[in-house]
C-alpha cells in the first residue's frame, strides 16, 4: 500500500500542479471504455459538462448497462475542442469513450472523447490517445 501511495505521489509530482482543480485519482485514466446509448441530459456548464447517458441492457459491453454520469471539462476547454452547447440534446444517440471509476460500482466516468455520426472524434480536452499525439493532434 505504501509503495502504491509513493508511486501515486511521484506520478502526481510529475504531472499535476499542486493546486489542481479536481483530482482524477478516482478514475482509471489508463482504461478507455465505450458507452453507447441515449442522452438523457446534456448539461453544458462549469466546472464540468455532464452527459447523462442511458445504456440499454444488451449493450455490446454488459458492464456499461445502466444510466451514467459522464463528466467532461469546462465549457471553455471543450469549446476549444469543437463542442458547443448544442452538440447533444436529450434524445440523441451518443457514443462516448470514457475512463471509468476505480471503485467499479459508481456509474460515473471521465469523458475522453465522443464519436460523432460522421466518425469524427470530439475530444473533451487536449489529450489524445497513446501514440496519436504530435502534429496530427488537431481538432
Amino acid at each position: 500500500m505504501k509503495l502504491k501511495l509513493l508511486a501515486l505521489g511521484i506520478s502526481l509530482l510529475c504531472a499535476f500542479p499542486v493546486i489542481a482543480h479536481h483530482s482524477f485519482a478516482m478514475f482509471e485514466l489508463t482504461k478507455d471504455v465505450t458507452y453507447e446509448g441515449t442522452v438523457l441530459e446534456y448539461r453544458w456548464e462549469n466546472p464540468h459538462t455532464h452527459i447523462i447517458l442511458k445504456v440499454d441492457e444488451g449493450a455490446a459491453d454488459p458492464s456499461t448497462a445502466g444510466t451514467w454520469d459522464i463528466e467532461g471539462g469546462a465549457t471553455s476547454i471543450m469549446g476549444r475542442q469543437g463542442w458547443t452547447r448544442s452538440t447533444f440534446k436529450a434524445g440523441d444517440h451518443a457514443k462516448l469513450i470514457a475512463h471509468p471509476m476505480k471503485d467499479g460500482v459508481t456509474k460515473g466516468a471521465s469523458l475522453f472523447y465522443a464519436v460523432m455520426p460522421d466518425g469524427k472524434r470530439l475530444y473533451h480536452d487536449i489529450a489524445r490517445p497513446k501514440g496519436e499525439g504530435g502534429a496530427s493532434s488537431t481538432k
Binding site: 465549457t75 469549446g79 458547443t84 452547447r85 448544442s86
Partner: protein, 241 residues
C-alpha cells in the same frame, strides 16, 4: 557649372531637412491609427452620466432588485463584466502592434476585454456562449475607434451608469478618441435594449493618462472569507464589534 553646383547643394540640403523632419516625427504603431495603449485613470471629474430614460417596467422596479444582483456577484466573486470593468481604474489598454486586436485589462478579477479589430463579424449566436464582457468588434473611423458589442450574459455587475442593466439583449456601441493632445481618452458609451431603455442611453467617460511607470494592480477576491461576506451582505456596521 556654378548653377549645377547650386542646384545639387539645394537638393542635398532638402534631403537633410527631410531627414531632420523624419527624426522628429513620433513613432507610429500601426499605419496612421492613434495609439490608445497605456494605463488610463478615472478622476473625480471623469464622468458625464445623464439619467437613462427607462422603460416603465424598469423605471418602476424596486431599487433593491439591482442592488441585490450586484452584491451577490460581488460576494461570490463572479466575473463582473461590462460596463463595470470600465470603472475599475486604472484600465490598461494594449493595442496590438499588428492592428488585429485591442485588449483592455483591469485590476479586478475579470477576464480582459477583447476588441477584435481584424475585420471579423460577430459570432453566430447559435453557437456563441454569452460572456460577461460580450463579444466586441472594432474598426477605425478616422481618429475614432468604434466598438460594437453584443452577446452579453447575465453574469456579474449588470447595473449601467445612469440606470438600467445589461441583459442578453443589450447592444453597446463605444467610441474611443484621444483628446487633449493624447493626455485624455474619451469613451462614449451608447446602450440600446428595448426591454430596458425607451431610447438609446449615452454617457461619456474621460480617462486621464496614468503616470509613466504605473503598475497593474490585482484586486483579489476570496469568496471563502466569511468576514468579507458578512460585510458585503449585512446591514452596514453590523459586523463590527
Amino acid at each position: 557649372m556654378t548653377d549645377n553646383f547650386k542646384r545639387s547643394g539645394i537638393g542635398a540640403v532638402g534631403v537633410l531637412l527631410l531627414t531632420a523632419a523624419s527624426f522628429l516625427a513620433p513613432a507610429p504603431t500601426r499605419a496612421e491609427t492613434p495609439n490608445l495603449s497605456g494605463f488610463w485613470e478615472m478622476h473625480f471629474d471623469s464622468r458625464n452620466v445623464p439619467p437613462a430614460v427607462l422603460t416603465p417596467v424598469m423605471a418602476n422596479e424596486d431599487k433593491s432588485v439591482q442592488y441585490k444582483l450586484d452584491m451577490f456577484a460581488t460576494r461570490w466573486c463572479h466575473f463582473f463584466g461590462v460596463p463595470y470593468v470600465m470603472d475599475a481604474s486604472p484600465i490598461d489598454i494594449l493595442q496590438n502592434l499588428n492592428g488585429k486586436e485591442i485588449v483592455i485589462a483591469t485590476p479586478v478579477r475579470n477576464p480582459a476585454r477583447h476588441i477584435y479589430t481584424d475585420g471579423r463579424t460577430h459570432v453566430n449566436p447559435d453557437v456563441f456562449d454569452p460572456l460577461s464582457n460580450g463579444h466586441s468588434i472594432g474598426h477605425w473611423e478616422g481618429d475614432t475607434l468604434v466598438v460594437d458589442t453584443v452577446g452579453f450574459s447575465t453574469e456579474g455587475m449588470t447595473s449601467i451608469p445612469g440606470g438600467g442593466r445589461r441583459t442578453p439583449d443589450s447592444h453597446l456601441v463605444e467610441r474611443y478618441r484621444l483628446v487633449d493632445d493624447g493626455n485624455r481618452l474619451s469613451v462614449i458609451f451608447t446602450w440600446e435594449d428595448p426591454k430596458v431603455f425607451q431610447k438609446p442611453h449615452t454617457y461619456e467617460y474621460r480617462y486621464f493618462r496614468a503616470p509613466n511607470g504605473t503598475e497593474a494592480r490585482e484586486y483579489d477576491c476570496n469568496a471563502s472569507d466569511e468576514n468579507r461576506a458578512k460585510f458585503l451582505l449585512d446591514v452596514p456596521g453590523g459586523g463590527l464589534k
